[in-house]
């Protein structure tokens, strides 16, 4: 691992690895570091990235980290502050999943991902905005106000405040891009880490399905949901991914019994001879020319690093849209049936009987996009439609996974765009949910197949907006993805660029 001398940089320009070593060397305390980022969060409150901050809680965690450093019992990430997507439940902060339904909810436990990072010494800066129950591609469905705001509003893209941050982990991407946190957690069901990372010019990875525990992640679509880190560099993502993955066999029934790995181990391996598959379906008509140019240039960079480009085909790419938007809502309609106004969350004020209480509570607590997906899911699981929609989608899901298997026979990883365009203007797709669904086309296939995928800054497109390069690995090949991303970042500086005014 390379540790750059970082003495001349501001604290907020340091990455996770650099901060960890500076704090360990006592060049700066955990408390000073946490305070610095809390100040940054306050200064950039207009970006609407944080939905919950509690300085007392954060500083108490930082003091405890400093005490462990003084006592010689520090963890590997001791004192490094990061923020969590508000989809992870936390004891010390409210958890809303971006929904009125959970406004003010206090979890009695920490999500496994949160607990694993805390066990390594990570300090929590607060909770970050996301689409309601992670359903959205622009963070515009968030239904709780950000810190310092009176009404709910989408986080602003730090590169152009009139544009969306992407979603659903939009707040996470904004916090990292605007240096309000050196890193953040995100979750990815159909692209919710990769797409906002691309839109905001940061790096993010979702591991193979089953690597990261879903325990304490507010459930959206259980067969797709995965947690992962978002940071500025692949090196930092590797450190955090190593900390947050690992078996959680008693608490998550789909957690895989595979030991935690050191994903940093091969960051510096050469890419000589690496075969990068380029799926022709990712470069069709729908791809905007500016995005294509940046992605093509990134692939050229890889050739310069010794990689070979191999044409591959993923023929069901377009089908991944209906397949995903059947399976995910089906699972969501089941998962969200728990919000009934009884055990936690919102309950309507006035109702006539139990059924009326359910209906009014859910009508008031859920936003439009959540209601749409519950309706779609309820319909495709209902008697007479289950085989035609839900089962059919699950069968095509297998075909999509088989297409990847065939592709990986001739290549080591797959590269392409993350999204067809750069971040669009806030409000542009707000009344056209299907347009948002179609824009997920390049991230959905890897999600459906359960493959690891990441986004890294590849350059800039129209109006100088960031463009992300997507890398997709075979099952359990996270270390190889991170190696390829790190080598790209040694040869380029897109990931180090900061938006103006940050």
């Amino acid at each position: 691992m390379t540790t750059k001398t970082a003495s001349s940089k501001d604290l907020h320009d340091l990455g996770v690895a650099e901060l960890a070593s500076k704090i360990a060397a006592r060049d700066v305390s955990a408390v000073e570091t946490a305070q610095h980022f809390l100040d940054r969060a306050a200064r950039h409150q207009n970006l609407a990235a944080y939905v919950s901050i509690d300085a007392e809680v954060t500083l108490a965690q930082a003091r405890a980290a400093d005490a462990r450093i003084a006592a010689g019992s520090a963890g590997p990430l001791e004192g490094v502050p990061i923020a969590h997507k508000d989809l992870f439940v936390t004891r010390d902060f409210p958890t809303t999943a971006g929904s009125k339904m959970l406004a003010g909810y206090r979890s009695p436990f920490d999500a496994t991902v949160v607990a694993r990072l805390a066990a390594q010494g990570v300090v929590t800066l607060g909770k970050l905005s996301c689409d309601e129950f992670a359903m959205g591609s622009a963070n515009e469905t968030v239904a709780v106000p950000a810190v310092g705001h009176d009404t709910p509003s989408a986080p602003l893209n730090p590169w152009d405040h009139s544009r969306v941050a992407g979603g659903s982990s939009g707040g996470s991407a904004v916090a990292v891009a605007a240096r309000m946190a050196p890193a953040a957690t995100g979750t990815d069901t159909g692209g919710s880490i990769r797409q906002p990372a691309a839109f905001c010019g940061v790096t993010g990875i979702k591991p193979t399905y089953g690597r990261a525990s879903r325990y304490g992640m507010v459930a959206y679509a259980s067969s797709l949901d995965q947690a992962g880190p978002m940071a500025r560099s692949a090196e930092d993502c590797a450190l955090l991914l190593s900390a947050l993955c690992g078996p959680d066999l008693d608490r998550d029934s789909t957690s895989l019994d595979r030991p935690a790995e050191d994903y940093s181990r091969s960051l510096n391996d050469s890419l000589q001879g690496l075969r990068i598959g380029v799926p022709k379906e990712f470069f069709g008509e729908g791809l905007q020319a500016d995005v294509r140019a940046a992605v093509d240039a990134a692939l050229k960079t890889y050739e310069g690093l010794g990689a070979k480009l191999v044409p591959v085909t993923l023929p069901r790419t377009e089908l991944s849209i209906p397949v995903y938007y059947i399976i995910a809502p089906a699972e969501a309609s089941s998962n969200l049936s728990r919000f009934d106004g009884v055990k936690f969350g919102h309950r309507a004020d006035k109702y006539t009987d139990l059924l009326d209480m359910y209906k009014k509570t859910r009508a008031e607590g859920f936003g439009d996009e959540v209601k749409r997906r519950i309706m779609i899911g309820t319909y495709v699981l209902s008697h007479g439609y289950y085989d035609a929609y839900y089962l059919q989608a699950q069968k095509i899901r297998r075909m999509i996974a088989d297409d990847f298997r065939a592709a990986f026979e001739t290549c080591d990883l797959i590269a392409g765009p993350v999204a067809p365009s750069v971040a669009w203007k806030i409000g542009d797709n707000a009344d056209d949910p299907v347009a948002n669904y179609l824009a997920d086309i390049f991230t959905l296939p890897a999600s459906l197949a359960g493959l690891p995928g990441m986004s890294l800054p590849a350059g800039f497109g129209a109006d100088d907006m960031p463009v992300g390069l997507q890398l997709i690995g075979n099952y359990f090949q996270e270390a190889r993805l991170l190696n390829a991303a790190h080598q790209f970042q040694q040869a380029t500086d897109f990931h180090l660029r900061a938006p103006e005014g940050i």
Binding site: Y105, P108, Y209, G210, S223, L224, S253, T254, L256, L319, P322, V323, Y325, I326, S337, D340, V342, K343, F344, G345, H346, R347, Y351, L354, L355, D356, M357, K359, K360, R362, A363, D368, K371, R372, I374, M375, I376, T378, Y379, S382, A388, Y389, L391, Q392, A393, Q394, K395, I396, R397, R398, M399, A401, D402, R405, P433, V434, Y437, A449, G450, Y475
Partner: protein
């Protein structure tokens, strides 16, 4: 095959959602636009294919586990009920169900 306003009412009831008239109208438009995109999926020949539930099962055998049925460590009742809308003496309160 487009959904009708009656379908929307039936699905909303199954989903335990009260939709206002204008919400139902918008929902009908959005769902029909969505199912137009889904049509291409219905034509795919999937004869003989097994549905894929756990995606990693496409790569290796994935067995659903059972755990021993023994008490573990769980949050206290008080902590668990802290965010409930109506609680009395450790019990959740709901409208009367049985007359």
């Amino acid at each position: 095959m487009a959904l009708t306003p009656q379908d929307i009412g039936r699905i909303a009831n199954l989903a335990r959602l009260e939709l206002k008239q204008d919400e139902s109208d918008r929902m009908l438009g959005h769902l029909n636009a969505f199912f137009a995109v889904v049509e291409q999926m219905r034509a795919v020949d999937t004869t003989g294919l097994e549905p894929l539930a756990h995606p990693v099962a496409a790569f290796e055998d994935v067995a659903l586990r059972l755990r021993p049925d023994v008490p573990g460590e769980y949050p206290s009742r008080e902590d668990s009920q802290r965010s409930a809308p109506a609680v009395e003496n450790g019990l959740y309160l709901v409208p009367k169900v049985i007359e």
